[in-house]
């Protein structure tokens, strides 16, 4: 079951390969969630896994997210490494109590005695024309919660490696999967990890301004950077990859090169990741900044019905508008 080395594959397939190899290598690894078995999950990320590893390793659960995460915690206390699938972003909240008051805190509560190697996979974000609660970006809730690690890949290669790394981490990891990127194919090198789990990565170097993004918005920022070339602007794109911790050294290094920064995410701007990046980078690089760090993101509104999502979400135009404003300082 060695995964193919370099190949073009979708993120769904990359995640599937990561789960498959983890199940294969470690008998303690379990996959659990609603419809992850015969169906292979509503996005087919777990396709074929139950067939190959059995119902005891890949398990359909009752419809109860608190139950899923709560029993995963119990299984972890028993020495297992459960990987939980939450069906959609908006259905994380029934499990929120388990995640915030228990999963995040048990290691600290036990003064390091108990380990909670639980990965919670959450397909997140919008732009796919879905109904309510199927397009949300709740990452800020988790990044604010000490004891959790929060990561999100933007490419199939990262998806594969970051999931492998998350599974082998002894801390709980909230693993956000940008569902609008699930089906995009890209070449992926599955022979060695591109970076550490929490390292940010310069996706596109540039000199005039840094676009900071993660997950679904990385691709959009690359598009924006390419569009900006026509206007003679050379934008750097930095993929955070991890939201807890955030690789501020990489953010700072980029800012010191470009001196201007725009943070882009789908989640509402208010109390979102952009605020943390802006606040900390402004503190770290006060004298380097030529303009305030600007933010582009969702508005302070429940995620709207899908026929308004194009207006609600960041677009290339909205990113370029912010770039214009940042460059006008």
């Amino acid at each position: 079951m060695t995964p193919p080395k370099i190949t073009a594959l979708s993120m769904v397939r990359a995640l599937n390969e990561a789960l498959r190899s983890a199940l294969d290598e470690d008998p303690k690894v379990l996959v659990m969630g609603e419809d992850v078995g015969r169906l292979g999950g509503v996005f087919r990320v777990t396709d074929g896994l139950q067939k190959d590893f059995g119902e005891d390793r890949v398990t359909d659960t009752p419809l109860a997210e608190s139950g899923i995460v709560g029993t995963a915690i119990g299984l972890a206390l028993r020495g297992y490494r459960p990987i939980v699938e939450i069906q959609f972003d908006g259905f994380t909240f029934p499990a929120f109590n388990q995640i915030v008051t228990q999963l995040a805190k048990l290691h600290a509560r036990s003064e390091g005695v108990l380990r909670l190697p639980v990965v919670i996979r959450i397909p997140y974000g919008g732009g796919v024309g879905a109904i309510e609660h199927h397009s949300e970006s709740p990452e800020a809730y988790f990044a604010h919660t000490a004891g959790l690690r929060v990561v999100t890949p933007s490419t199939p290669e990262d998806a594969f490696w970051m999931l492998r790394q998350a599974i082998s981490t002894d801390d709980p990891v909230i693993f956000f999967e940008p569902k609008r990127r699930y089906w995009e194919k890209a070449r992926a090198d599955l022979s060695s990890p591109p970076a550490a789990l929490h390292a940010a990565r310069v996706v596109r170097p540039g000199r005039d301004l840094t676009l900071v993004a993660y997950g679904p918005m990385v691709g959009l920022c690359v598009e924006a950077a390419e569009a900006a070339v026509a206007e003679g602007r050379d934008l750097e794109v930095l993929d955070l990859r991890s939201l807890s911790p955030i690789d501020f050294d990489a953010v700072q290094a980029s800012l010191e090169r470009t001196r201007r920064m725009v943070v882009v995410h789908e989640a509402p701007v208010f109390f979102g990741a952009g605020a943390e990046v802006a606040a900390r980078i402004t503190e770290r690089c006060f004298y380097h900044l030529e303009a305030p760090v600007l933010r582009v993101g969702g508005y302070h509104s429940p995620y709207p019905a899908s026929r308004m999502e194009h207006e609600y979400l960041p677009t290339v135009d909205r990113v370029l508008d912010a770039v214009d404003r940042a460059l006008s300082y």
């Binding site: 609603e34 419809d35 078995g37 015969r38 169906l39 292979g40 509503v42 359909d60 659960t61 009752p62 419809l63 109860a64 608190s66 139950g67 908006g90 259905f91 909240f93 029934p94 024309g129 879905a130 109904i131 309510e132 609660h133 199927h134 701007v269 208010f270 508005y299 302070h300 509104s301 429940p302 709207p304 019905a305 899908s306 026929r307 308004m308 207006e311 609600y312 135009d317 909205r318 508008d321």
Partner: protein, 375 residues
């Protein structure tokens, strides 16, 4: 092992034992024969029987039309109620106008009986709105996508009804999958403790997406009720008469200040979970075929025909009505306008909120730069 414990477990074996399937309340057999039940009687006029048929047939028609319209790209998604018409029409027709109904997201037949325009239901699945209708107009609450919370809303509403001393009951629909959510159990408990006039109506269509009922619970859903101190009943959910009779009794019970009731209607989801779903991945055609023979509409039709309660002209008339409804829905959906680009700012709060105002102003200014460009 003491006998007490072993008895209640239903056996000594190691594997989970499915409790003996309890008898379903049934008044109309799958073959369309009228049978009696010692506890539940119903006596409907021919006109009433025909109108039950009509509601089921029209529901099935606009529901099927929605599936087609989804394929044509007019809807983002549709969740079909195919096969559950008796459970929905029978229970909905048992409610009074003054009762208040909390649906889940598949109660198109209930919505129909309450007077909600099918186009309103579709506006939500089209992506035009997250709501779609005014619950006050029909006492039919909005669909709720997150499974669980609404059972507590229904319970709270019923607690309010009790405080008001109003002569009404509250209906709360959910699926057998939903019964696993902690919120359902909390609702059962709050309703019992507060003696709230609420009927919990579970459509056990045996599938929660790809998850069969035996992975959801070890025992039938209706048995949950006794553990919280109130009655539960299991009814043949494909028998519109039995569903109506049992639901009427349950609503009377609730209205009569006797507290909650849990009704489990055993039915079957004939179609996919939703238009995005492919049931061939997880269930056998044979299983669906078995349930085809229990079809709720065919069953009533057989009865109406055999008893000469309805003739060919009636069925032709209903078919024509269904065609007209489908056409209206099709046209209405195709010409349904999209929302304006800033509408999502409109109702975040009932009152004024500085942040929303600020973001709206910024967004409008941004949009206006395009207007200038195009001018």
């Amino acid at each position: 092992m003491s006998t007490d414990v072993a008895d209640a477990a239903g056996g000594e074996g190691g594997a989970p034992v499915r409790a003996h399937e309890p008898e379903l309340v049934q008044l109309l057999t799958p073959e369309g024969e009228r049978v009696d039940h010692p506890a539940y009687a119903i006596d409907l006029t021919p006109a009433e029987l025909r109108s039950l048929y009509r509601d089921m047939a029209l529901t099935r028609r606009f529901d099927g039309e929605a599936v087609a319209l989804q394929r044509q790209g007019e809807l983002a998604l549709w969740v079909s109620a195919l096969g559950q018409e008796a459970a929905q029409i029978g229970s909905a027709r048992a409610t009074r106008r003054t009762d208040y109904v909390f649906p889940s997201y598949r109660e198109h037949g209930v919505a129909w009986c309450r007077g909600v325009d099918p186009l309103s239901l579709m506006s939500m699945y089209r992506g035009v709105t997250n709501g779609g209708w005014d619950p006050h107009a029909t006492n039919f609450h909005l669909y709720t996508i997150v499974i669980g919370p609404v059972a507590l809303h229904a319970t709270g509403y019923a607690m309010g009804v009790a405080k008001d001393g109003a002569d009404m009951a509250v209906m709360c629909y959910f699926g057998e999958g939903g019964s696993s959510q902690g919120d359902l159990s909390e609702a059962f408990n709050f309703a019992a403790v507060n003696n709230a006039p609420v009927v919990f109506f579970c459509q056990n269509n045996q599938w929660s997406i790809s998850t069969p009922y035996e992975k959801q619970s070890r025992v039938p859903v209706y048995q949950r009720a006794a553990g919280f101190g109130f009655p539960g009943v299991r009814v043949d959910g494909n028998d519109v008469l039995a569903v109506m009779a049992v639901t009427r009794a349950a609503l009377d019970h609730a209205r009569g200040h006797n507290g909650p009731v849990l009704v489990e209607a055993l039915t079957y989801r004939m179609g996919a979970h939703a238009t995005s779903d492919d049931p061939t991945r997880y269930r056998l055609a044979e299983e669906t075929a078995v349930w085809e023979r229990k079809d709720p509409i065919a069953r009533l039709r057989t009865y109406l025909e055999r008893q000469s309660l309805a003739g060919a002209d009636f069925f032709a008339h209903v078919d024509a009505e269904a065609d007209a409804l489908a056409a209206r829905v099709r046209d209405g959906l195709r010409s349904m306008p999209d929302p304006g680009p800033t509408e999502f700012f409109d109702h975040v709060y009932a009152g004024q909120h500085a942040l929303v105002d600020e973001e709206r102003a910024q967004f409008e200014a941004y949009l206006s730069t395009f207007e200038e460009t195009t001018r």
